[in-house]
Structures are given as structure tokens and as C-alpha cells.
Symmetry: C2
Subunit: 152 residues, 2 copies
DNA sequence: TGACAATGTTAGAATACTCTAATATATTCT
DNA sequence: AGAATATATTAGAGTATTCTAACATTGTCA
């Protein structure tokens, strides 16, 4: 019953749309993902078969309990990654968002838990200057653009 | 001319095999990636069309200059991610390797450069105890297993 | 209410990736 | 060299993902 990357992407899109819309149409998903409606229809029909989504002929799209659970997991992963890229690495909002989208699939629970700790730790660092002095890693070395000198 | 994730995976596999083997066969790649030989043949034929690989009928596989360049880039990304997971997040070697494989595609150059800085910074932290006291993030909070209390 | 616009669906196609089964070529060993 | 083994290739199939074109249904507003 493992979902593909694309299936997870569609679930996440539906989940995110449901924050702003009370009912979700095929066209909303298509617009949001930048694909055509037939593409969405085909994705949704696969998700219906996996029991992740409900949708009747010409009807609205709903996540099932299983679909909501899967979507929530992907979304939480996405959110933590976005925070990490933004707060710890100091990337712009757009770059953080974009990288989070690329990376959010297949990363382990363990990584997410430790990223949470790292973000937490860094937030503490930033407020207690005697302990550690940085806000994000770009702030620590604003001048040296990449030359940290590793080979492995 | 953008490569797919799988194409990058095959290039990286060839690149890594070339460290230990002086000539690379279809069967080496198949074994290394856990796929069948016809699958490799089909991947290689696509890579030949993109000018990333050379291989003659029943012959050995070679990366072209472009192939080597692409493979090197993926491999460097992989290596930095592995270091980050191991040194900063404190994951096991196997978990670091596995997560690096999943994440290495599509992550931006900017992220890699800042991860380098972060690893560098952490290495410095570890040696200068007055500045910051950790070896890896799991070491800082060895007890609290995940409860850092965020909601976003 | 009927026409037009918006939305949804089906049909048919293409690409990427994988497999198994069958066949062809190379390599190795006696 | 000839047989046995290893390796490579082709053929054919299946799934996932996307598209365009054609058609169906729904919604809106004049």
C-alpha cells in the first residue's frame, strides 16, 4: 500500500487546499499543481482505488481518514523541512518552500525528529548569546561564500 | 537536457563503481542497483541518447565528459548530505547513506553550500567547548525523544 | 429558461521505468 | 576447440504519469 511520490504530492495538495476552500474541485487541484484536468482525474482515480480519496461522478474531492493521515504526515515533514531551510540555513521563503517540496518524500521519521531538535537548539542559541552566536548559518559566515574547504 | 532522478541514479552508480573497477559492465550496474540487466540496458540506452554514456554492442560502459560532470555533482551532493546526517544529526552510517540517496536529487546548490558551512561550524563547535557544546544534535538532547514542542 | 462558460470525463497517445522469457554473444575451463 | 557458464540484448508486457482533443455535465446570467 505504499504511495508513490506523486500520489503523496496530490494528497498534500488536497490537504493544503482544504485549509482555504471548503470544497475542492478537480480544477482547483489542477490549477494548484500546474497540470491539466485529465491528469488530475487519473491521479484521483488511482487514489480512489487506494482508498485515500472519495469523489463521485462530477463531484467534489474528499480525503478519507487514511488519506488525511498520509497527507498530514507529508505536510508535517514539509513544514519541518521548510523551517530548517529558513531558520537554520537562512534561505529565503521561496527557496525554503521549493527545496522542501523536492525533499519531503522518502525522508525518514528519524531525520525529521532530529531536525526538530536542531531547530529548537538553534532557536535557543539565538536567544542566548553566551552559548552560541548565530541566527542562521549564513549569518555566521556571511563573507566566505562556500569556501569551508572539504573534500569529503 | 534535464536528467530524470533515475538517470542521475544510474550515472552516480557508474561513477561510484568506477572507483573500484577499471571497467564497468551492465551486470555490475544491475547488481549494484538491484535491478535486472534489461532494465540497465534500457537506462543506458537513454543515457547514450543524452550523450552521458558510451557503450558499444556487448561492450563496457563509460561515462562521457558530460556524464562524469553530472555524476560528480550528484555524488558531491550525496556526500555532503551523508556528512550532515551523520555528523550534525548523529544518524548511523546506514541511515545517513539511505536518507542521502532519497534526498540527493533536486536539492539546490544553495542548500548544499549552506550545509557545508553548517557542518564546518559544527566541527568548530565540537572542538571549542566554550563556544557551543555539542558533537551532534542527538547528543544535546539525548533524553527528550522528539518533544521539542512545535506546531509550526 | 436557454445560451454560454466553466468544469469534468473519456479516449488515445507518449515517455520513463520496470519486469520475464527468449535469444545472442563472450568468457572460461577441461 | 568445444561445452558450460556468464553476460548482453531483444521482444513484449505492465504501471505511473503526463498530454491533447473531443465530448458531457453543471452553473450562471441575461
Amino acid at each position: 500500500m505504499k504511495l508513490t511520490i506523486k500520489e503523496e504530492d496530490y494528497l498534500e495538495t488536497i490537504y493544503r487546499l482544504s485549509a482555504n476552500l471548503d470544497s475542492i474541485r478537480i480544477s482547483d487541484i489542477a490549477r494548484s499543481r500546474g497540470v491539466t484536468m485529465p491528469t488530475v482525474i487519473s491521479a484521483i482515480s488511482r487514489l480512489k482505488e487506494s482508498g485515500m480519496v472519495n469523489q463521485s461522478y462530477y463531484g467534489k474531492v474528499y480525503l478519507t481518514a487514511a488519506g488525511k493521515e498520509a497527507a498530514t504526515e507529508v505536510y508535517e515533514t514539509h513544514s519541518i523541512l521548510r523551517l530548517f531551510f529558513g531558520e537554520v540555513l537562512g534561505l529565503s521563503m521561496e527557496a525554503s518552500e521549493e527545496n522542501a517540496c523536492k525533499v519531503e518524500h522518502g525522508i525518514s521519521r528519524e531525520v525529521i525528529e532530529r531536525l526538530k531538535k536542531l531547530i529548537y537548539f538553534m532557536r535557543n542559541c539565538s536567544s542566548k548569546a553566551e552559548n552560541c552566536r548565530f541566527r542562521n548559518i549564513d549569518n555566521v559566515f556571511p563573507q566566505s561564500d562556500g569556501e569551508t574547504g572539504f573534500n569529503q
